[in-house]
Symmetry: C2
Subunit: 563 residues, 2 copies
Amino acid sequence: MEPGRRDGRVSFQVDPRGYRHWQLTVDGPVATLAMNVDEQAGLRDGYELKLNSYDLGVDIELYDAVQRLRFEHPEVRTVVLTSAKEKVFSAGANIRMLAAAPHAWKVNFCKFTNETRNGIEDASAHSGQVYLAAVNGTASGGGYELALACDHIMLIDDRSSVVSLPELPLLGVLPGTGGLTRVTDKRHVRRDLADYFATRAEGVGGTKAAAWKLVDEAVPRPRWDETVAERAAELGSGSRRPAVAQGARGIALTPLDKRCEDDRIGYRYVTADLDRAAGTATITVAGPDAEAPADAAALHEAGAAFWTLAVTRELDDLILDLRTNELELGTWVIKTAGDAGRVLACDRLLAAHAGDWLVNEIVHYLKRTLKRLDVTSRSLIALIEPGSCFAGSLFELALAADRCYMLSGVFEEDGQDAAPAATVTLAEANLGPLPMGNGLTRLQTRFFGDDAALAAASEAAGRALDAGEAHELGLVTFAPDDIDWDDEVRIAVEERASFSPDALTGLEANYRFAGPETMETKIFGRLTAWQNWIFNRPNASGPDGALRRFGTGQRANFDRKRV
Amino acid sequence: MEPGRRDGRVSFQVDPRGYRHWQLTVDGPVATLAMNVDEQAGLRDGYELKLNSYDLGVDIELYDAVQRLRFEHPEVRTVVLTSAKEKVFSAGANIRMLAAAPHAWKVNFCKFTNETRNGIEDASAHSGQVYLAAVNGTASGGGYELALACDHIMLIDDRSSVVSLPELPLLGVLPGTGGLTRVTDKRHVRRDLADYFATRAEGVGGTKAAAWKLVDEAVPRPRWDETVAERAAELGSGSRRPAVAQGARGIALTPLDKRCEDDRIGYRYVTADLDRAAGTATITVAGPDAEAPADAAALHEAGAAFWTLAVTRELDDLILDLRTNELELGTWVIKTAGDAGRVLACDRLLAAHAGDWLVNEIVHYLKRTLKRLDVTSRSLIALIEPGSCFAGSLFELALAADRCYMLSGVFEEDGQDAAPAATVTLAEANLGPLPMGNGLTRLQTRFFGDDAALAAASEAAGRALDAGEAHELGLVTFAPDDIDWDDEVRIAVEERASFSPDALTGLEANYRFAGPETMETKIFGRLTAWQNWIFNRPNASGPDGALRRFGTGQRANFDRKRV
């Protein structure tokens, strides 16, 4: 049985009333998210989640809480991340779970947890909801990395609580959720001290942890509660979120209307048709089925039913579902269907009210969801056909794809009933608000180093471009006509399925991130790639490896050769 | 038998008179380096180097040629890299060699070939010796990647010659020498076209290759020779190298005086003591044994005997030797011995004559050698003891180390004979001329994000700092006194040897490159890390993997799960 598949597929849909591992309380502008992992409630059998160690199920709840705080609690300006247990903040990812998990599970688990921590940083940076780590006990490994994702780290100074990254000395692997990168690139810990720290299983506490910049301050227990409260108030003071007194009301992230069949996953706007023989999922995103709300008030009124938010939530869930539950569907074919004008109208509504807190949340959520697509280890092929609506925000799906085929003209066999030839439209949504992890828009990344091409494409924004124009501008890869379409697309998809899945993952992980790197892309590129390599090596995951031998009392038996 | 160990250790010392695979001709300002691989002269048995495919031995000669052109041929402004064979430029790395090689050999081979290609780009950028790829036949895989390292790529347009990256479709691995990164980040090929290109084993030729920016121009055969000559003249026209008429004389890179014993490798200035039981190599670099040359003329006269150049050549060879031949020596302990004043005098001489072509070459060579250290997968621990000379350029060795221990005071047991307490000296050499691959100095990388600490250290330049001052400024990690020294150093070294070698490699590959990434660091970080992962996966290297099955007529049998 795959881990997490207690009842079949892993589901990413949870609700605070059903949380097993977190306590979320909101007190005016300050929310407290307290980790209180239920040892017996692991996602699968075979391990106990002691000492606030976590598995995917714990992190799914964390992700849900972070999302709900942004949408359902406009008044919250500071989130205090802490532990509800005595003497321990979090022991990080559960080792027995990791040791028993297949390689793909480990990699997927780390990817999701990384995305959630990046999302925490995104909230601090863009949502006016700043995260404060109140580390009230020892934080080890992934526990410390969770604190690292917060904007400010307070460590209780009680002669026993420490922060540590014991992965290397104890498990023979790396910290898997951005720890190495954040220690040097975010917290500016000197690399030689960072090296010492990461080899010291017993960690560093108190004033030394603060002097080395591993934490921002070490606070004695008697002053702990009051200092946490002070910092929470300070951190939230600059927030542009509506004050409690303004009475802004959050919107409810209502349950998704999701229908799962054996070969199909359907939501209101998004569907995925699964072809296991071919190894493909064909994802179709429908445009709005009504006119855009008239104004910001109407958008608030619509809440989770507003098309952009609804479609983003569905895509987000689908990406996670397919990634986790359908490993052998290596190619995702991406289509859209609907009215481009309505897509653009929703985009314009969002652009016109960029200062509105809810609008801000929707745009950043779409941004994060598209980033999730960028780091997904599946080949992405966009097909632009008559009846599609690749415009503005939805055109980002085509720009995220590894290749894009656009039909030139119509499907002749449809005769007089043939839908008109497809067009694509670049718009404001493609020119700034939805950057990739590398800090560039997908359009800038596409034309990296070719300013003339970027300018030409940008100047075409607002016009519906036919296949010839889109191809000329470099917005689509190929633009075959009806005669060649079926063969060309079929060959591309079949060929993709014939290649080494591992080599495709590596190819895409390189090509998708042309140009500059950021802390975020370094975490997914440099750090994760090395971790994946290490996870795959006998020194970690072999029967005598450190990960497998942890807790057995036996030392690992290493192949000493340096590679 | 390890590959390449025909007669024991792999040697990186070659001489043009002994080249088996390259023809180097110099005609005034234009040199031609023609690849003409001897099929039967592989470094090991078991494969034939057909179609100008290469193994480590071929690349060792290439590296030697690139180095000699810079030092021995000041008059050369353009190097035409071409093939002496009909219809084929180069088929890239030899597949049978790769398929049979152990993982560590593959990784080391790719690292060295990457360094050589980066060195080609360094010559074009900093030496005034611009590389022109005259691709006069098909260039596949590593063959095309060799062209990508050149500043200008000409492809013969003869209806059969193409460039290609067939690694993914044919071998289930990635191009291993920077191909993916250079295609997008250097040549600005659009990522979707790059994707198509890298899945198309048959490659792209003629005007399409030029239109997609895979090459700079496609030139019909009748105009080939004259166009190559024209471009060679154009590319060299801006060079600051001395013109032929000025009669500048190169210096001979005379054979290194190297003595190998079972537990010791010795050169004139550098020695390495090998402790196989402990898994360490203790590298001691001696300072100059005489005063620095009086002026630039005397430096030219000294040639390869000039201390900085001599010590750089020795270090370069030692790094390559230990990397390739001593995989189980996982920790390199780095020491220096000598007169810091003399080290600084050599540095000053170089700084004072930065416009001199030979001085320029020496400084860039030292820079490249230190970069080689940065990407070496060994733990580096610097020990600063009485009698050492960690000053200026030699202090870069301490800054390159993962940790640095400096004795506070003297070794008391030496009594009245005790050497005075060690000092370290920052100088101009640490503040700019020797950047790392990430574009920052080692000092900037060390203090990344902490401008105050960087300023404080920089302001201390020129002063001999004792252990207390150096520790206070953050220039050394720990400064134990005589009482603690032995234990602290012993524990650090012993502990290092007890950790997973793979996890250490990953840790160091992350920590050493804090801050920004460049094309060069992306090649060693993102691309190489993914490639190492893929090399380690059964889909490539297992008995049914694509790399092993290549040429057998059997298709690879892939595990279809995406990771």
